[in-house]
Symmetry: C2
Subunit: 184 residues, 2 copies
DNA sequence: CTACAAATGCAACAATCTTTGCTTTAGACT
DNA sequence: AGTCTAAAGCAAAGATTGTTGCATTTGTAG
């Protein structure tokens, strides 16, 4: 969405710096994993002075979180295909697809390290989206938003973090099928 | 279970160093979060020379992974209460209880940051344990090991990492109930 | 297009982390 | 006990990271 650090000059050179830093972080996190990336590394890769990075973000975690949410929240529209099951299937497919990109997966893992204290943007949005889809189909919906989180989002994210090679083209559909098995 | 770095002298002073380092890491990770812990910090808290830590583990991530799996695998026996559902309930309760301890949760998050390339000990053991419990009750078991991972383990771990405040005394039971709802 | 000020760049400094060669301590085996 | 040597401790050097004051560039408002 937008940068945490509010810039009074969002355009021109500042924007260029932001972009090259963003690319550099994504590349490096994917190459080496969150733990082996440092600010001087990022700055060098980005062709930017480390001072600029320090002054904008202060530390690496802040920067990574900023850049991760940036990527994760592309104002994507919520599916609206006519039935809850098809909406959830579409939605889950998009999430799986997003995280099958190794860069996105690496950023998620990096964010996990500092999660848990405050509800991250990424998590909050998921819950909100699930709620919107479920509520669209009235109160007698066969599944609750919490069930969507526990049985659809959680398995996907768990696999992204710990078992990424188990994600394939059918994962989303299988999970939705299981979620609906025996009800609605 | 045991230290990655094979020690030809596991006892005496080496064991004492390992123990105090272990305690120091746990305390510091809980106090400051994985991101703000360094090897010199750990060494000082442990009353040990930093060199010893560097020589044993090489870097912080290796050390944390080592110590985390150490904690996670206390050769705990697998529940055997007479029915698959009660076994899984007991097992899930133990996992929830384990991770409601903030130190264990912090170590999990720290490990997540470097997961995904190789199947971590912690993950492998979970899958193996699930398999053992399911297989004990024959082939017509109502749930598969994969379902246990997706619908029981994944929601717990997801909550531990991103929504720790949602873990309570009933979480394990509710998840198992849902897993069995509409089948066996 | 001018002037103001925000953001970057630079350079020197400070602090911290990591490595290395050597010495000392103390497990483990006989 | 005595010997051997793995592992820990120590200290100094080296590398990397983080900070700060000041000069330079360049968005942006008027």
């Amino acid at each position: 969405m937008s940068t945490n650090t509010v810039q009074k000059r969002p355009g021109g050179r500042s924007a260029a710096v932001l972009n090259s830093v963003k690319v550099a972080v994504e590349e490096l996190v994917q190459e080496k994993g969150r733990e082996r990336v440092t600010i001087p590394m990022v700055a060098e890769r980005a062709g930017v002075n480390p001072t600029s990075v320090y002054r904008r973000w202060g530390d690496l975690q802040t920067m990574i979180n900023d850049i991760a949410t940036y990527r994760l929240d592309p104002a994507r529209p919520i599916p609206q295909l006519g039935s809850l099951k098809s909406d959830l299937t579409q939605w889950a497919r998009e999430i799986v697809e997003h995280y099958r990109n190794p860069t996105n997966a690496a950023l998620l893992r990096g964010g996990a390290a500092s999660a848990g204290e405050t509800e991250s943007d990424c998590t909050r949005n998921r819950r909100a989206e699930a709620g919107m889809m479920v509520e669209r189909y009235g109160d007698e919906s066969p599944v609750t938003p919490d069930e969507v989180l526990d049985q659809l989002v959680a398995p996907i994210i768990y696999r992204v973090i710990f078992l990424p090679w188990t994600l394939d083209d059918h994962t989303a559909d299988e999970l939705v099928d299981r979620l609906f098995a025996g009800r609605g």
